[in-house]
Structures are given as structure tokens and as C-alpha cells.
Amino acid sequence: MRRGRLLGYLVSLGAAICYAGTSVLTRKGLIEYAPPLVGLTISLVVGTLAFAITEARTPWSALASKRRGLYYFLLAGVAGALGLIANYFALSVAPVVLVSPITSINPLISITCVWLFMQRSEKVTLRVLVGALLVLAGVALITVGRNAT
């Protein structure tokens, strides 16, 4: 396996583990400390500040020539926030055992978009598609199992 690809899988696994830790800590935090949107806002403030410290040396004036990238990342941020807010309101009107399996299909949305619009830059193989479907089915079962105990 190429080094870049191995690193890609490792950081993706790292993201999955960070999100898992977030999920476990959030469960306790919501019971004891704050409503979801308040907790989420505090998390975003601290997460953004933590990034601001490490990104303080970025020459922001040089970014003017990279507007395309800036716009796409801003759009990614908007999409991420809309997803978090929709997820919050979904959980306020429906049980997690219904909401979580539906929201977890987001990789299929990404894969469909790539397949429809980005075939030149990224190839979607049958193996990846079947793998993604198996992961999503497994996640749905785990969600049902955790909420059944």
C-alpha cells in the first residue's frame, strides 16, 4: 500500500475514534451539564480557538489568491453546521434509533455525488460501494443494539 494511502486510512481511523470519543463524552455532558445546542456551541468556540492558536502563523494575505479553496471550505463548514443543527432537531422529535441510522447514510450521499460529478478525479469502485453499504448496515445494527440494552 502506498505511504500516502496508508496515512489516509490512519487519519480517517483517527477521525472515527475522535468522533467516537465525542459521542461517548457528549452523552454524559448532555445529561449533566447543558442542552445539546449550548454544548455544541461551546465545543465549536473552543475547537475554533484551538485551531486559531495553531494557525496564527498562516499568512492570511496570501490566501486571497486561493479563493476557490476558501469558498469550498466555507461551504463545507456551512454544510457541516446545517447537518449538526438538522441532526439536533431530528433528535428532538424522533428517537436516536431512527435518526442515527438515517444520518449515517451520509457516505452514500458523498459517494453518489462523486460518482455523478467527479468521475475524472475519483473512481468509485464496486468494492468501495459494497464496503460502504456493509459499514452502514453494521452501524445501524450497532445503534439498534445499543438502544435495546
Binding site: V11, A15, I17, A76, A81, T112, V128, I142
Partner: protein, 140 residues
């Protein structure tokens, strides 16, 4: 029905968000892009939270702030950065199923640290997630 529609909206926006990252990654350093992405996320969430839970901000304790601050570092400083880096290195179609396996790790943590029990659904789900990851990671 509303719950299903909102859940679908979350799935669609998260799914499209990954595609935006893929499109922006060639033009911007990933750490800078991740930071840029956090700014609209923070603003939109703050406005919504103030509209829905304005009074709850006053009652949060210092421990609560520290708790959610820790979550912020884990979720946004590390998790989102790794997520975007994975999309840049692998492409969104290969990285997103790996990242989607996070409930498997959450379950392991909950069983290990919170004493949650394991049942047949969880065992079956774990096997499916692992099989799916092996398929995604394995060579063509």
C-alpha cells in the same frame, strides 16, 4: 415523518460537505481549510443556539464549559482535521466509509468505560462494519 426528513437533511448536508472538502483540498492547506470551515459552523450554530436556548447559556457551570471544551478539541480540532486530511489523501469515497465506522469505536468505549452490555445486534453489526472496512481498505 419530520424526524425522518430532518435526519435525511443531516445526511445530505454532511455528505455534500465531504465533497466540498474534496473540491477545495487542492487549493488550500488542509489545516487552514479546516479552520476556515469552522468559522461558518460556529456562526450558524451560535445563532441557532441563541435563538433556541438563550437562557441556558447563563446557567452552565465551569465544569460544563470544560467538559464541552474538551469535546470541542476532540471533535473539531482533531476529528474534523483528521476527517478532512483523510478526504484529501484517499478521496471522499474511500475515507467516508472508514469515518462512518465511528459508532463501532463508540460502542467499544461505552462497553469498556461505561459498562454497557453487548448483545447479538451489536456483535452482528460489528462483524458487518469490520467486513465493510476490509473491503474498502483491501487492494482492487
Amino acid at each position: 415523518m419530520l424526524g425522518i426528513l430532518l435526519s435525511l437533511a443531516a445526511a445530505v448536508t454532511w455528505g455534500i460537505g465531504g465533497v466540498f472538502v474534496r473540491l477545495g483540498a487542492p487549493d488550500l492547506k488542509i489545516s487552514t481549510g479546516t479552520f476556515v470551515s469552522l468559522i461558518p459552523s460556529l456562526l450558524l450554530t451560535l445563532v441557532t443556539a441563541l435563538a433556541v436556548n438563550f437562557q441556558d447559556f447563563a446557567s452552565i457551570t465551569l465544569v460544563g464549559i470544560l467538559w464541552f471544551g474538551l469535546i470541542g478539541v476532540l471533535n473539531f480540532r482533531l476529528g474534523r482535521h483528521f476527517n478532512y486530511l483523510g478526504i484529501d489523501l484517499l478521496g471522499v469515497s474511500r475515507s467516508s466509509p472508514v469515518i462512518a465506522s465511528s459508532p463501532l469505536f463508540a460502542m467499544v468505549m461505552a462497553v469498556t468505560f461505561l459498562g454497557e452490555s453487548v448483545n447479538l445486534f451489536i456483535i452482528g453489526g460489528t462483524m458487518l462494519v469490520v467486513a465493510g472496512l476490509v473491503l474498502v481498505v483491501s487492494k482492487e
